[in-house]
């Protein structure tokens, strides 16, 4: 069981490491958002008395890098289905849950590494965390977000059979989750509907958790963030395992 999880985890890491284009491609979008929005809205944010927008935005951008990378890794299953490798794992005499867990944690590790690279880049652009000691717990929060969305990616990929479906998921699931999560704006003083949507969006708690640890600003409170992340990650791991077990080729 552990060996299976380990070898599937290792596979995800190797595939990531060997694909420099994927590493660079995954960084482009968050950095673009950070620079364009961070510097573009900075003075407005400051004028409204909210402090530095750049500082506020960095945790949101880290969350963005992680959710996109996690969903993408989860949906690697679609490629594996098309290129046939999925069958090799499904026909093996091992529990599918072990395969699913290995893939999820592999994808989550990769996404966390991407989040850390984005974090390192923001330091170059002048971001300064509230306390260096809290960077480690922040990385743990990043890994929880990554596990949650990797598991969600695998769940969705169990139903979606082709890359057109992947686009659909990006547009109608991932994009709304990102934009409604409070990654780009504070959740205080916003219309009720928007706040309600943000409250049911698991990424809100992820971004809020990183924000609490990195810039000491929090909407929900770190205890709520951690609880919601852990519960939702467990729910999606369970759901993803179930769907993966039912998969037929």
């Amino acid at each position: 069981m552990l060996q299976t999880i380990y070898i599937m985890w290792l596979r995800e890491l190797k595939k990531f490491w060997r694909s420099p284009s994927r590493i660079i491609g995954a960084l482009g979008q968050p950095i673009l958002f950070l620079l364009a929005l961070g510097y573009g809205f900075g003075s407005m944010f400051q004028a409204a008395g909210q402090g530095s927008y750049f500082q506020f935005l960095v945790p949101g951008i880290i969350g963005m890098a992680i959710i996109f990378a996690s969903i993408f890794n989860g949906m690697q299953i679609i490629w594996d289905r098309q290129f046939g490798f999925l069958k090799e794992t499904l026909v093996a005499p091992v529990s599918r849950i072990a395969i699913m867990l290995g893939r999820t944690f592999g994808g989550a590790t990769v996404a966390t590494v991407q989040g850390c690279i984005v974090f390192a880049l923001t330091l170059l652009f002048g971001f300064h965390p509230y306390s260096w000691a809290l960077v480690v717990p922040a990385i743990i929060v990043m890994f929880s977000i990554a596990s949650l969305f990797s598991a969600l990616g695998i769940t969705v990929a169990s139903f979606v059979k082709d890359m057109q479906g992947f686009q659909l998921v990006m547009n109608f699931l991932v994009m709304p989750m990102f934009f409604l999560s409070g990654a780009l704006f504070p959740l205080t003083n916003i219309p009720l509907l928007l706040r309600a949507l943000a409250t049911i969006d698991p990424l809100s708690y992820g971004v809020d958790g990183i924000r609490a640890l990195l810039i000491n600003v929090s909407h929900f409170g770190i205890a709520t963030d951690a609880t919601v992340l852990l519960v939702m990650a467990s729910v999606f791991l369970g759901l993803g395992s179930y769907c993966f077990t039912k998969l037929e080729v």
Binding site: K15, D80, G84, V91
Partner: protein
């Protein structure tokens, strides 16, 4: 010799369409069994049921004494499989693909390395062990898949159109490997193919399936004698007709083919 595969009145329906309609056959341990039939006849569906990838609607299967619906893992350890389409990870090396398979099949580390070496030598890929699979030609990929399918010492190897798209040289090579294996390790070979000469030359027993039913089985000689034809190809066409069948790409497509077949 005992039967290593026994199939009794096996049926599979997809949404009311019968893809496999009550087939029975047996394969002797250590023999080479050719499973032939036009596209959409039910070959791949049958193989999926034998390999515990698909649950039969009804009927009984015994693979090495185990029922795939009840003890899928015992069945899975008993066979190796080379799928119709490639199933390697292109981003990993030949060695890494083998290693991953060995771990999934629980081959202990010590014997695993030795066996991977042995199998890579066997298919003459040991000098390319650290090359990425994406750099391999179609024939090399097939050889690697065969080596991988044999890694965990299976008693049966399933080959679903293993020589599709390969040149005659590679094809001959492949059958030579399989023949040697059959002799050396007593492995049972279960294969499908569209090359009738290949089936005639290599199979001890042949079964022909069409529209989900086995229409005839026996040795190549018996089938030719029965149809009074000189070649297995002519015998095959005599038995299954000359109409062109649609290739079924997906389960949905499969349904369409079956619906058409039933409507005739």
């Amino acid at each position: 010799m005992a039967n290593i595969i026994e199939v009794e009145d096996l049926k599979k329906s997809f949404a009311g369409m019968q893809a496999v309609r009550g087939i029975s056959f047996a394969v002797q341990q250590g023999s080479t069994f050719g499973f032939l039939g036009p596209n959409g006849a039910g070959k791949s569906t049958t193989i999926k049921m034998l390999t515990a990838l698909l649950r039969p609607t009804s009927g009984a299967i015994l693979i090495d004494g185990y029922d795939p619906t009840k003890e899928p893992h015992a069945v899975r350890r008993a066979f190796g499989i080379v799928f119709q389409d490639p199933s390697l990870d292109d981003d990993l090396t030949a060695w890494e693909n083998m290693e991953l398979h060995g771990v999934l099949y629980g081959v202990p580390r010590g014997t695993r390395y030795a066996r991977i070496n042995e199998m890579l030598k066997f298919v003459e890929l040991d000098d390319r062990r650290h090359s990425y699979v994406r750099e391999f030609s179609g024939g090399m990929k097939r050889r690697l898949e065969i080596a991988r399918g044999l890694l965990h010492h299976p008693k049966i190897i399933f080959l679903d159109e293993p020589t599709l798209g390969l040149d005659p040289q590679t094809r001959n090579h492949m059958w030579e490997y399989l023949g040697r294996l059959n002799e050396r390790e007593g492995i049972t070979v279960f294969f499908t193919t569209h090359y009738m000469d290949e089936a005639d030359r290599n199979a001890d027993t042949i079964a022909i399936i069409d529209h989900g039913s086995i229409i005839v089985s026996g040795t190549g000689e018996e089938l030719k004698r029965q149809t009074r034809k000189d070649s297995l190809e002519d015998a095959f066409l005599e038995l299954t007709g000359h109409d062109i069948r649609e290739e079924s790409a997906s389960a949905l497509e499969h349904l369409r083919v079956m619906r058409r077949a039933r409507g005739r």
